[in-house]
Every structure is written in structure tokens, then in C-alpha cells.
Symmetry: C2
Subunit: 361 residues, 2 copies
């Protein structure tokens, strides 16, 4: 039986990438050893590392004005690293709050600066993106932070904010990076934990405009300074080498598939079919998100009769559609359909949903 994995993260990886990693797991190339056993300073691993960076730069068209960093600690570490690198104590930082992840960014940011919530969709249960013309971004903000895709709520920005003046725009792209083209030049910092659209958990990508590298607080831990990563090829100390290697394989796979423009076409179509199935279910299924803010990556949905949820989850799992349970804070179902989720997986889910509704309608 085919298994399709809708986990929100760690998430499905491309089958071709997993098979390649399996083939070369014990002996990588001519090295005679596993990629996991190589010194990070060996010529073989430096090649792995540099090819991964070069591939990511091609995929997102990242110019030399930006450093590409390979870090650890996920978005949660970035919630502290961004204010430590881009603001001084007492500075104002502006954050748009569209759900649980941006709420975490607010809370952690408050430990290091004065957080001004520039806009929030809390009043509608985080089911929309606040209209851009309603945002209140103080002119002296050290930066403006937002979360282009909220993994838990399934809320996505389908525009990039046009920030006035020279306020750097910072984006937590953990669950949307590489799902579509993005103009990196509009951002000060982009960061993303790997475990959704990049690779296995344990590595975090940063794309940092180089003129921002000099702003870090002097008293920060050494591993908190973007500049230390930029100056050392992200090898201040031993980096997470295997997750880095896996990220490189995923980048290569994306390039072979036609890059992010092609992924955008596929992702929009996949998400479109799934939302259509929900919307055309005659109210059996529902997604609470405003249509112009629906995520291409994470599709939460509920059943009109909540008591059917457990049956849906048990039967879908038995049919090979796994990890569909909604986040523990939300309930219901959530289908995460990242780049690596094939069309067949989405179509199998839609077919199951239709059948389940027919049997229980």
C-alpha cells in the first residue's frame, strides 16, 4: 500500500531523495565513509556544503548582497536571534501577528526589545491576513517581522508587504520557503527551519542582507551572531552535517523538477483541488480561513459533525493517509501538502474524503 504522509513537520521528503540518501548512506562517493562520518572541514564535506548553498542561491535567485547561513535551533531560536542581531535593548520591533507562530515570535521578542504588534488577526481567530493598509509600523522600528505562512492555522500571505523607508523586513518562512518564487531583495532576513520544505529537522536556513550583519549585540552568545556564521561558512563549530547534506539533495531535486516557479504551479493546483473538495462538500467539510489567505501548504479542515473526526482519522490512516490529525490546539484535521507531497497523495486524500462523506453524510 502506498503511504502518503501529511505531517506538518518533520514532513514528507521526496521519495527520490530518500532513495538516493539510502543508496549512499554507508559509503558516500569515493570517500569510503558515510557522509555522517566526514569531518566538516574535509574537502568532501566542504563540497557537499558549498553545492547546497549554490543550489539554494540559484533556486531563490539570491544575490551576493545576501549571506546564506546554515544554523540550528529552528524558528524558535530565530525568535531570539533576530532581535539580538537586528535591534538594541529598548528598540521597537514591529511584528504582525497572524497565528501561533507569530505569537511565539512576539513573546520571545519581548525578552529582548519593545514589541509593537503592527497588525493582528486575533479578533477573527487568526483566520485571515490583516489588510495591509491597516498596518501600523512605527517609523523607528528596528525591523518588521511577519510569518508568511502559519503552519497551524493554515493562513498564508499571498503578497509581500511593501515596507516604507529602510525598515528591514524579516520573514519566518519555515513552512513556505521554496514553495513559490520570492523576491529576496525585498527582505532584510529570511529564515526557515528545514523540517517542512527543505529537509530533515536539525538545520535552519538564514538569508541575511550583508549590511545587517554588523548590528548584533556585543554580549550575545557566539553562536547567536549571524556574522559569525557568515564569516566562517557556517562552520563556527561542527554544523549538523547530515541535515545539511539532505537539504542539498532536496535543493537538487527542486532544480531538476523545474525550480520554484514550477513548484508554485504544482502547489497552487494541489491546494486548489483540496480546497475545492472541501468547499463543494455541501458543508460536510469546512475550512475556516478567509479565501484570500488560504495556505498552499497547510490545509486544516473540520467535519460538520465533530464526533466523526476520530473515525475519519482512523480510517484515513488505515488507508495509508497518515498524520492527518490537526494540531493539538486546533483539533480536526490538517493536511500538510509541501513540495514533496505528490499529486497522487492529494488526489488519494480527496477521493477518501468524498467516500467518507458519502458513507457518513
Amino acid at each position: 500500500m502506498s503511504v502518503f504522509n501529511f505531517s506538518a513537520g518533520p514532513a514528507v521528503l521526496p521519495a527520490a531523495v530518500l532513495e538516493r540518501a539510502q543508496n549512499e548512506l554507508v559509503k558516500y562517493g569515493d570517500s569510503g565513509v558515510s557522509v555522517m562520518e566526514m569531518s566538516h572541514r574535509s574537502a568532501e564535506f566542504i563540497d557537499v556544503a558549498e553545492r547546497a548553498e549554490a543550489s539554494l542561491r540559484r533556486l531563490l535567485n539570491i544575490s551576493d548582497d545576501y549571506a546564506v547561513l546554515f544554523m540550528s535551533g529552528g524558528a524558535t531560536m530565530q525568535f531570539a536571534m533576530v532581535p539580538i542581531n537586528l535591534s538594541a535593548p529598548g528598540d521597537t520591533i514591529a511584528i504582525v501577528n497572524t497565528g501561533q507562530w507569530s505569537t511565539k515570535a512576539v513573546k520571545e521578542g519581548q525578552r529582548f526589545a519593545n514589541v509593537h504588534v503592527a497588525a493582528s488577526s486575533e479578533s477573527d481567530g487568526f483566520c485571515s491576513v490583516p489588510a495591509f493598509d491597516s498596518w501600523d509600523v512605527p517609523a523607528d522600528s528596528a525591523y518588521l517581522h511577519y510569518t508568511p505562512n502559519e503552519t497551524i492555522g493554515g493562513v498564508e500571505f499571498h503578497f509581500v508587504p511593501d515596507v516604507a523607508g529602510d525598515i528591514p523586513l524579516v520573514a519566518d518562512m519555515s513552512s513556505t520557503i521554496l514553495s513559490r518564487p520570492v523576491d529576496v531583495n525585498r527582505f532584510g532576513v529570511i529564515y526557515a527551519g528545514a523540517q517542512k520544505n527543505i529537509g530533515p529537522a536539525g538545520i535552519t536556513i538564514g538569508i541575511v542582507r550583508k549590511d545587517l550583519l554588523e548590528r548584533a549585540r556585543d554580549d550575545a552568545p557566539s553562536l547567536f551572531k549571524y556574522k559569525a556564521y557568515a564569516d566562517s561558512g557556517s562552520m563556527i563549530n561542527t554544523p549538523p552535517t547530515f541535515p545539511w547534506y539532505m537539504a542539498g539533495l532536496v535543493f537538487e531535486w527542486l532544480e531538476e523538477r523545474g525550480g520554484v516557479a514550477e513548484m508554485a504551479r504544482i502547489n497552487e493546483a494541489k491546494a486548489g483541488r483540496l480546497y475545492s473538495a472541501i468547499d463543494s462538500s455541501g458543508g460536510f467539510y469546512a475550512n475556516p480561513v478567509a479565501p484570500d489567505a488560504r495556505s498552499w501548504m497547510n490545509v486544516p479542515f473540520t467535519i460538520h459533525d465533530e464526533s466523526l473526526t476520530d473515525a475519519f482519522l482512523a480510517q484515513s490512516s488505515a488507508a495509508g493517509l497518515v498524520q492527518l490529525k490537526g494540531h493539538r490546539s486546533v483539533g480536526g484535521m490538517r493536511a500538510s501538502i509541501y513540495n514533496a507531497m505528490p499529486d497522487e497523495g492529494v488526489d488519494a486524500l480527496i477521493a477518501f474524503m468524498s467516500d467518507f462523506a458519502a458513507r457518513n453524510g
Copy 2:
């Protein structure tokens, strides 16, 4: 040709562990998905995580008085986390300096507290362990930190310091953990980056006495607080799941091999044979470390005629003895012979050294 990998870290992994990981890389157990693709909160991964912790607790006989933490960032992150968790600004922290890694602990520690160097072997080029009765540990020290094995210098403590009063003892065991039995109850904190004796790079083990969990500074980043890891099963956010899984496989392998007492017997014998080969080479090879401080894990050595170093490295590598180059700061050779280095690897190196000396003597 067999390849034996003497890398100091990331380092050789047990062949049986790599083969098992390869076999189950694409589909783990009955899950239908890779262990890399599982939600860290899924029942399957929680089982992987808990079994790894239980195995480590058995191996080191860790009591319930200690929390076992799975973190990231390596020893370099711990150089900041330890003072942030165990001291207040202005406190004195005592550090024994026996080489490059403890020097880094001193430098990073100075960012967060007043470092008092309790003892140092700098004057003899970090080739010994300062006699314990010469150590000067201030009675008000927040803790005493030392590095039981210096990976670069090849200097190892063959005793555990008997600290007076209730000063917590903190040890960076990155390159010696699990190589021999240790009485965990004598320590406040033990930490270790995984990439030497535990698993692949990207995960860091902490063993923290529970009464020390409450001391962290309020203004620390959330991911810097030991207590946050202890309270969440090390799942504050998505942990590095694949390195965690691999660490668990290595722990199981160690248990199957007879545990750390048996590893100590094997390691002492392996190191003993290699030091004998150096010492009995009639001065062709030399190791600079005081005999009572020689490491079982990292054996640096030089050739009396330095100009032969490049030939040694090229020929040994061609013979399948790879990653023998000494640290860039030291030169010469370094053979790292962690738990996963089989007897055959050490014996092949000794045979090569003998042959090389005969051809170039």
C-alpha cells in the same frame, strides 16, 4: 579495500549502526515513512526518543536525580549555556584550562561571568593535566568546569576531580563520553556534542542534576534554559530527530557490546597498542603528552623528520587509513580511535606505521 576513518569528529560510526540505518531509512518499522519524516510528537518518534534516553540512562547508570536533555549547538553552545544556567552576572566560575577546548570555554564564559582559571597546563604546551593538589578553586565558585578529554591535544583526565563543598562539577565530555564508566553522581552537569562517541553531528546530550535546573537567568533565550528541555522531554520545539534516532542506535549497539565497562577495556587496549608502537619506534614517531595524561580517544603523533609528514598522510590515505591529518593548529598526525573504531583499524594503522618507518628510517 577496507577504509578506516580516524576523523576527530564528525567521526566513524559503528558499521552495524550505519547498515541498520540504511535498511530502515526509507521506511521505519511499520510506519510506512522514514524516521526523518515523522512528526516529533508522533507515537512512533516518541518511542524512538524515549528508548534512546532509557538506553543512555542504563549505559551510564544515570539516576532519577538527573535530567537527560537532547539539545543542539554542540559544546560551543554549552560554553554559553552553562554560565547562563548555573551562574548570575558577576559570579565567579572556575575553569581548568588543559587545551584548546577549555580555552574556548574560558573565552565564552568571560562573556557571562568572572572566569577564574583554577589550573592551567598552558606553560607546558597543554601536554599534561595539572596536579589536582595545585588547583585553586575559589570557595564561592558557581561551578567548576573542566574538559576530561582535549580532542586536539590528546590530553585526558584519568581521574574525576573531588571538588570540595557543594560546588557543582561541570564536564565537557564531548570526546570521551561512553568510552568508560563514569560516576555521574559526582557531576552537576555533563554535556557532550554527539559527533565523536554518540552519533552524527547535530545533537548535544546534557545530563543535568535536577536541583540545578532552577538557576537559569531570567533574560536568557528560551532555548538556552535547561529546565525548558527537562520540562518538555527536550521538545520545546522540533528537535533534530534523525541525529536523535542515530544516537539511540549507537546506545543500543553499546549495550549489545557489553556497555561502557567493556568499551573501557577495549579502548584502553587499543590506545595502549598505539602508544606502544609510537614509544617503541626508536624516536621515529613521538607523542608529546605526559604518559599519565595520554588520551584513549585522540592520539596525536609526529615524525622525527617533519618533511615526511605529507608522504605519511598521502600513503596512509591511499592504504585506506583516512582522516589522519593533525588539527590545523598542531600539524602532524592525529588518530582518533573512538568506540566505533574497530581493533582492526588500530592494528592496520600500527602495521602501516611500522612499514613506513622501515621504508623511511
